[in-house]
Symmetry: C2
Subunit: 338 residues, 2 copies
DNA sequence: TTGAAAGCGCTAACAC
DNA sequence: GTGTTAGCGCTTTCAA
């Protein structure tokens, strides 16, 4: 591995000059610069980002900290699409990206701060964390700039990006109401998710607006899991056969819910209208295809990175961003025939 | 940020001792070690991996170099699942993971060697690269240890991991033949993919074994894209209405092929049997669900990492691994009714 | 069992 | 314009 010294020696100049030449400083003779560039190329030299970071105390690196990076994630692709967004934005802005994944086991070994300081990431984007995760406290106490995805908390060093979950949910339920449904159930995620609370609020708001009384027995948790949603939906529909429509807090749970309904002998969407949330790939391919609220995970990642780098570079802008959702009508919702 | 010096000062010892104490060397008084550990914790000290790597000339970091990390990848999840496998294995073995993504634009700016040397990755896993990509030459010339995914090339510093593509394809086509199909088309990927060549070989082998003549007009390329496959399938089926079965080199293309058939008024699987390759999530949810050859992208990533770290640690083992596939029967294939 | 000193590859004051 | 020097935070000889 050629170092800066090798280049300097061969060019007959000092390492300083090489450094300056290669980094585009103006106070260096153009001829010298050319020569140095030539030699650098000859020697196949590339500067060590390590050494540079050490002396500059800047790594130009951000970390994407994912809690629970698991293969199951491929069903909704949340993490992957966020990653794409982060990667694209970071790339554009010249930041390196390191992927930090943790799970409860790892978290016992290393604190959030350790994880970040070790690798000298300048800032962090946090995805997939529950509101009762101990890391969240650490994040808020830490002075490492951080953007939370889908957790609307803000502090000096912490911002967030999320979508208009309440609005999205409201749109979904309004749609069902517009179709004439009066008995609308909800399959929510879990209480440790902000988005679940918001989506529930949206559900309630829509009911209220349409003078439909809120019945708490109509709302169950599916843990954002397809299987759990299937099981819970079966229970719900058995207990409340008057339900003709379901709003699910995720498309994946909607898949489970639809399967449950089918297994009970219901015909979709005639016997049961279902609206999901997310617009995952599957939702366009299922039978019936799923009416849903689309949110762009990619944008979530991209905007998170924009916010984070703004923070890092001291640009005094907003530290949070709320993205809008889009309603997508497909086959799984239809007029109330009940 | 507390440094090793801060700890040393507070503990009243030299930095050398702190280093030794914290890194578990035996030649340090246990009492001193305890004291140092205490103080380190107090100061919230975590050693700078940067500085350590610089002096040790070891980063314990591997890079996952992905060519074309794009949101479209969420349809087949190839990259994501490989990433999960790499991440899990790297985590187990104590390696850091950096994600390096390139595209043709970036490649003009930086060579493969630059990309890797800059970040001081000790080894690389390469995914998503075509056989005519200029990076591939560089990889083979470079002395940076590298594992290629799905490109069976080996050299001193290069190994690979792939699946038994020929065998998988053969199984798929044998299945169609067993169902009585005589006119079996193939939607292949593109010629710049080794897997395409292998799968074609498997297709031909199965035909031969069953005394079905090979007709090159029956094989078309769908570029591994759903839309292209749809367009090309339409042409193929119009030109050769005698075809009753299709083997597709990817599930995604199988989706396109099925859509094409449906649009032509065919009933699936009665008018046309389709077998895919990959076992992506979608294949279980489509209508009809897709018979396919399953390959584990996760294992691909995991095994790649195992091979790579073995190389890095000088363990003289095989530098390649071929994983087996699994045949998965679903609804899209049935007996020849033609 | 501990410490002093050198050095990893680089950048940045400060001279000249 | 260019070189000298110091130092980023750490590990590792070599002495003591």
């Amino acid at each position: 591995m050629a170092t800066i010294r090798d280049v300097a020696k061969k060019a007959g100049v000092s390492v300083t000059t090489v450094s300056r030449a290669l980094n585009g400083y103006s106070d260096v003779n153009e001829k010298t610069r050319e020569k140095i560039k030539m030699i650098a190329q000859e020697l196949n030299y590339s500067p060590s980002l390590l050494a540079r970071s050490l002396v500059m105390k800047k790594t130009k690196t951000i970390g994407l900290l994912v809690s629970g990076l698991r293969i199951e994630g491929s069903k909704d692709n949340f993490t992957f699409e966020v990653l794409c967004g982060v990667n694209d934005c970071a790339g554009e802005l010249g930041y390196e990206l390191v992927l930090i994944s943790t799970d409860s086991k790892k978290q016992q070994e290393k604190t959030y701060n350790q994880l970040c300081k070790e690798r000298k990431v300048e800032g962090v984007i946090l995805q997939g964390i529950k509101t009762d995760d101990p890391y969240l406290d650490e994040v808020l106490k830490s002075d490492i700039p951080c953007i939370l995805i889908d957790i609307p908390i803000e502090s000096d060093s912490v911002g967030y990006v999320t979508t208009d979950n309440k609005g999205g949910a409201q749109t979904a339920v309004q749609h069902l109401s517009d179709l004439g449904h009066k008995h609308i159930g909800m399959i929510n995620g879990h209480s440790q998710a902000f988005v679940s609370r918001e989506r529930l609020a949206g559900y309630q708001a829509a009911l209220k607006k349409n003078d439909i009384p809120f019945n708490k027995d109509y709302v169950i948790n599916g843990a954002f899991l397809e299987e759990t949603a299937e099981v819970e939906t079966t229970k719900l529909l058995k207990q409340h056969p008057e339900i003709t429509a379901l709003f699910c807090a995720s498309d994946l749970m909607a898949m489970g819910a639809m399967r449950a309904a089918k297994k009970m002998g219901k015909t979709l969407p005639n016997d049961l209208s279902v609206v999901g949330y997310d617009n995952i790939i599957l939702s366009a391919y299922s039978t019936p295809s799923l009416t849903t609220i689309a949110q762009s995970r990619y944008k979530l990642g991209f905007e998170a990175t924009t916010l984070l780098t703004n923070m890092l570079e001291g640009k005094a802008e907003e530290k949070n961003k709320v993205l809008q959702t889009t309603f997508i009508k497909r086959e799984s919702s239809t007029e109330n025939h009940g």
